[in-house]
């Protein structure tokens, strides 16, 4: 078994990666094996238990009916009733298996480096299927089309659609549509037609292939020609290719759903009849437009509804993520109801609702949505691949050498010709042309996956007597593309030196300049009288700002320009990061316990207008000050870092800084202990336990995450947090140093004044000025005056 082999192999070979098969990891592998066995044993047990339960039921019946003449049985203390819980139990078991497998692969880093996860999962599925078959049981029809299309596929597509990078998608929309529509059509007809030709010229005695008509061939061609989003996502995720190529292949895989749906239904309808007239073709084209546009419309409507709903959720934050999920799922189901393109509807819903929902929901909800989507899509993807493996073992097979090999070859050839031909045409219209390397990756990345299999599975055996042969061929193509192409694409990308994805941390400069350039280009286009790309984008933005945002975004956020929102987000992230990295008692402790960093509503305008979305515990003005202080702190801190490093001469700045840092840390720890002893509500637990995860999640997976750019000549480890409570001595040291260098710095914020007598208890109802003043003082120097602060409420 895979896991056992891994166990033994790692024992024998030297351990370069440093993974030690320690006890916990072996335990995990053992657990997986047990789950395997349990999964196969229990269904066996189920076979025998129904008798018991039935008996018990009938006994009870008799007891109830008769009433007086019942035979007394010993009361069953412990009984096994598997049927009762069979369905949910098996589902959970599968999900557990999938997740454990995922865990397992990452414990073996060498393997996951060479082989993409999807391949491994298919192999696992094959093993499980084999196991079940060996156990003599009937393999459950796991890749049942209904289950697949209604439960397994939507999370993956929603995840993709919600986080779709809109800008590159829209910029390349023309190219993507060409590939999706024309490319898929070309593929379908080429494969279907040539396959029919090959089957007809099959030599030999009435070959089974002779009875294959043209229309079923075309149907098969349309099933097999669609690039699969699940497979593409699974493979491309690991190769980190540049954004353009990623969005081209991925966008194509999403948008070709409409084409596939129409072709599939068209050919399926008429395969029975045996002929297709021009009228049907014409209706087919109309149907395609209806399916595509209809799907997008349905999705957009639900997206707007979701955005509108999120406007009112400020009082019930907990169910915010639910709206996103439910509306999206309903969009999918509604589209499927009318046989429109469910995938396009889901993408449209996610993409439309995202900017507005994100402006309305809280930070925690945002994280929740992201995590739930990633979790579901990950589990779905794993399950799909495992089921693919299982279905391969079980699925009705009809192997026909000619058919299968010709299919595989034709698919490859069709894809290559299609891509090259289309690129030739597309490059005439593109500003940035697609090079040969790009074309190769696009062609090579055309992976087929489970959607093709499910569509094939749906075929009616009566209409299509050769369905089994189709299924076998489909599975072979899927295996070929996923295994061969999936495994080799990574080394090929390296070999061809294709541009990789840059870990983009958008800086504020980029944002400003990009917006500037947008305006500039729009202006130039207007001067030239050319209604191009920028012109329409500008018009859409203006429309959005004027009408739509007002409707869908709550409160003041509707008027916030994008640059400001971006700026706030960045500042907030940096503040959180600063807090996280410093560790221990930090800025949050200087605030009332009700306010943790995470609770602060990010991205709010700081004008004097009172906040409309105040936290429940925090008076309205307070938030303002806190944010102002945060911002000024960040500025100061950054400046301090720079100034500190700028003027350090030959002496090792690292050493000096480290010394200071150690002193400060020492004092902080002492202070923390002191405060803990005092046992008042000032003692805020050091950053809440889930914050590192959240922080990491926010910063690591968010493509727009900004993390502090390392100063060119600074030392990364010096995280001077001057806002934390410290004794004034060490701080004054810093302060003098700083003051010597920067004479013209404003006298604001963190002026480290020694605690003066004025900091006595102040009455709550003071005006903002003195409150702010006191707050600042509290932030700057609660060292020795911690004793004072003990008595008064920190903030009234």
């Amino acid at each position: 078994m895979l896991s056992f082999n891994g166990l033994y192999r790692c024992d024998c070979l030297p351990d370069p990666a440093g993974i030690c098969k320690s006890l916990p990891e072996r335990g995990l592998l053992l657990l997986m094996v047990l789950v395997f066995l349990e999964g196969s044993v229990l269904p066996l047990g189920a076979a025998s238990s129904p008798d018991v339960t039935h008996q018990a039921n009938s006994d009870n019946h008799i007891v109830k009916e008769a009433g007086h003449n019942f035979t007394k049985k010993p009361f069953p203390v412990l009984s096994l009733d598997y049927h009762h819980i069979q369905a949910p139990f098996e589902i959970s078991l599968w999900v557990l298996l999938a997740s454990l497998m995922k865990l397992g692969f990452h414990l073996i880093p060498r393997l996951s480096g060479i082989v993409p996860e999807s391949c491994l999962l298919i192999v696992v599925g094959l093993l499980v299927g084999g196991l079940i078959k060996l156990a003599g049981e009937q393999v459950p029809p796991v890749l049942d089309s209904r289950l697949f299309f209604l439960c397994l596929l939507p999370p993956i597509i929603l995840d993709a659609g919600y986080f779709l990078p809109i800008r590159p998608f829209m910029e390349n929309l023309g190219t993507i549509l060409m590939f999706a529509v024309v490319g898929t059509l070309w593929n379908a007809f080429f494969v279907g037609g040539l396959l029919y030709a090959v089957c007809q010229i099959q030599p030999g005695n009435p070959s089974i292939l002779h009875q294959l008509e043209l229309l079923p061939c075309l149907l098969f061609g349309s099933i097999i020609s669609a690039v699969d989003p699940v497979a593409v996502l699974a493979v491309f995720e690991e190769i980190h290719i540049n954004e353009l190529l990623h969005i081209l292949v991925f966008g194509e895989s999403l948008l070709n759903d409409a084409v596939t749906v129409v072709l599939y239904h068209l050919f399926e309808e008429y395969a029975g009849v045996g002929s297709v007239t021009v009228m049907d073709v014409f209706l087919g084209i109309i149907s395609f437009l209806v399916v595509a546009v209809g799907g997008v419309l349905v999705g957009a409507i639900y997206g707007i509804l979701a955005a509108f709903t999120s406007r009112f959720t400020s009082h019930t934050r907990v169910i915010e993520p639910l709206f996103v999920f439910v509306y999206s799922y309903m969009a999918y189901l509604s589209a499927e109801m009318f046989h429109l393109s469910g995938i396009m509807s889901l993408i449209a819903c996610g993409a439309v609702m995202r900017p507005y929902v994100e402006a309305n929901i809280s930070h925690k909800s945002h994280t929740t949505i992201k995590y739930f989507l990633k979790m579901w899509s990950s589990v779905s993807e794993t399950l799909i691949f495992i089921f693919l493996g299982v279905a391969t073992v079980e699925g009705p097979h009809n192997w026909n050498w000619t058919f299968v090999t010709v299919t595989v070859i034709l698919c490859l050839v069709a894809r290559v010709i299609g891509v090259v031909g289309l690129t030739y045409v597309i490059n005439k219209f593109r500003i940035v042309k697609l090079t040969t390397k790009d074309q190769f990756i696009v062609a090579y990345g055309g992976l087929r996956g489970a959607i093709a299999f499910s569509l094939g599975f749906l075929l009616n055996k009566d209409h299509f007597p050769l369905r089994d042969m189709f299924l076998t061929a489909i599975i072979t193509v899927i295996f070929f593309t996923v295994f061969v192409q999936g495994m080799t694409i990574k080394p090929l990308v390296e070999l061809l030196a294709v541009k990789k994805k840059q870990e983009a941390k958008r800086s504020i400069n980029e944002e400003i300049h990009t917006q500037f350039l947008d305006h500039l280009l729009t202006g130039i286009e207007d001067i030239c009288g050319h209604y191009g790309h920028h012109h329409w984008k500008d018009k859409l933005n203006r429309f959005n700002k004027k009408y739509v945002k007002k409707c869908l975004i709550a409160g003041e956020r509707s008027k916030e320009p994008q640059l400001i929102a971006f700026y706030h987000k960045m500042e907030m992230k940096q503040a959180i990061e600063l807090v996280e990295s410093g560790g221990g008692v930090k800025l949050p402790s200087a605030m009332p316990s009700a306010v943790s960093m995470q609770n602060i509503q990010p991205k709010k305008l700081p004008p004097a207008k009172p906040a409309e979305r105040a936290l429940s515990n925090l008076p309205k003005g307070r938030e303002e000050e806190i944010r102002k202080i945060l911002r000024s702190n960040l500025q100061r801190t950054r400046q301090r870092l720079r100034s500190y490093n700028r003027h350090t001469l030959l002496a090792d700045p690292y050493e000096d800084g480290l010394g200071d840092l150690l002193i400060k840390k020492q004092k902080m720890i002492e202070l923390e202990r002191k405060i803990k002893d005092m046992n008042n509500y000032l003692t805020v637990p050091a950053a809440p336990p889930d914050s590192p995860t959240m922080c990491r999640a926010r910063l690591a997976s968010d493509p727009q995450a900004y993390s502090m750019k390392p100063e060119p000549d600074s030392v990364p480890t010096i995280q001077v947090d001057l806002a934390s409570p410290q004794s004034p001595d060490s701080v004054n040291l810093m302060d003098e140093f700083r003051r010597a260098e920067q004479q013209h710095e404003e006298d604001q914020g963190l002026m480290m004044k020694p605690p003066s007598g004025e900091s006595g208890p102040k009455k709550p109802g003071e005006e903002d000025g003195s409150r702010e003043h006191k707050l600042m003082r509290c932030l700057s120097d609660p060292g020795p005056s911690a004793d004072e602060d003990e008595d008064e409420p920190f903030l009234p």
């Binding site: 800086s507 001067i527 911002r631």
Partner: protein, 202 residues
């Protein structure tokens, strides 16, 4: 086509322009049409402002420019500093900056950098920030641009802090201003060829 060629010949210096900027005959023709559309007084030159009223004159015909936050800067970019008129040749030369880059173009060292290369594009954008042409974007100039882009929706304090942060990020030699190299560096992740090109078709 024969007719368009003869029209191109009517335009003065068409051939030199085509060679210098790399525009095709069709492009030049199109741009000439547009120039004549903007040139209301048919004097062969576009004027910046109407002397008596001080309103943007010829470029005012383009209504969308009024809505553009940096419309005025764009218009003044067409005019060399100090001049108030621009002729067709200069008009085309400015617009040549926005032609899509020819990737495979090989040029010998003697030839001047083509107008539509990445560097020239960036230089053009840089000059729009740097109004006083001292080679650096000072804080005041940056603030001016930000103010124009963000308008009345933000407070002065916010503008200051954004400008502050932008300069901190980009300014590597700590002279409190952004030089052209720093500007280029901060935009290294952006695909300038794609971002600053428009199609001159039709």
């Amino acid at each position: 086509m024969g007719s368009s060629n003869s029209s191109v010949n009517n335009i003065p210096n068409a051939q030199e322009l085509m060679q210098e900027t790399g525009f095709s005959a069709a492009h030049i023709l199109r741009l000439h049409e547009r120039f004549e559309f903007l040139d209301k007084h048919k004097c062969g030159q576009l004027r910046l402002v109407d002397r008596p009223t001080n309103q943007p004159q010829d470029f005012g015909a383009v209504q969308e420019l009024a809505l553009n936050p940096i419309g005025d800067s764009i218009i003044s970019a067409f005019f060399s500093p100090g001049q108030e008129t621009v002729d067709f040749a200069s008009f085309v030369r400015i617009l040549a900056h926005f032609r899509p880059t020819d990737r495979n173009q090989s040029r010998d060292g003697a030839q001047q950098e083509p107008a539509n290369s990445s560097i020239r594009k960036l230089k053009f954008a840089f000059q729009m920030y740097d109004q006083d042409r001292d080679g650096k974007i000072s804080r005041a100039e940056l603030l001016q641009v930000l103010r124009a882009m963000l308008g009345i929706q933000v407070t002065e304090e916010q503008l200051q802090s954004i400008a502050e942060r932008a300069i901190q990020e980009a300014d590597l030699d700590r002279d409190d201003a952004i030089s052209f190299d720093e500007f280029r560096k901060s935009l290294e992740k952006v695909d300038i060829d794609h971002k600053m090109s428009i199609r001159f078709l039709r």
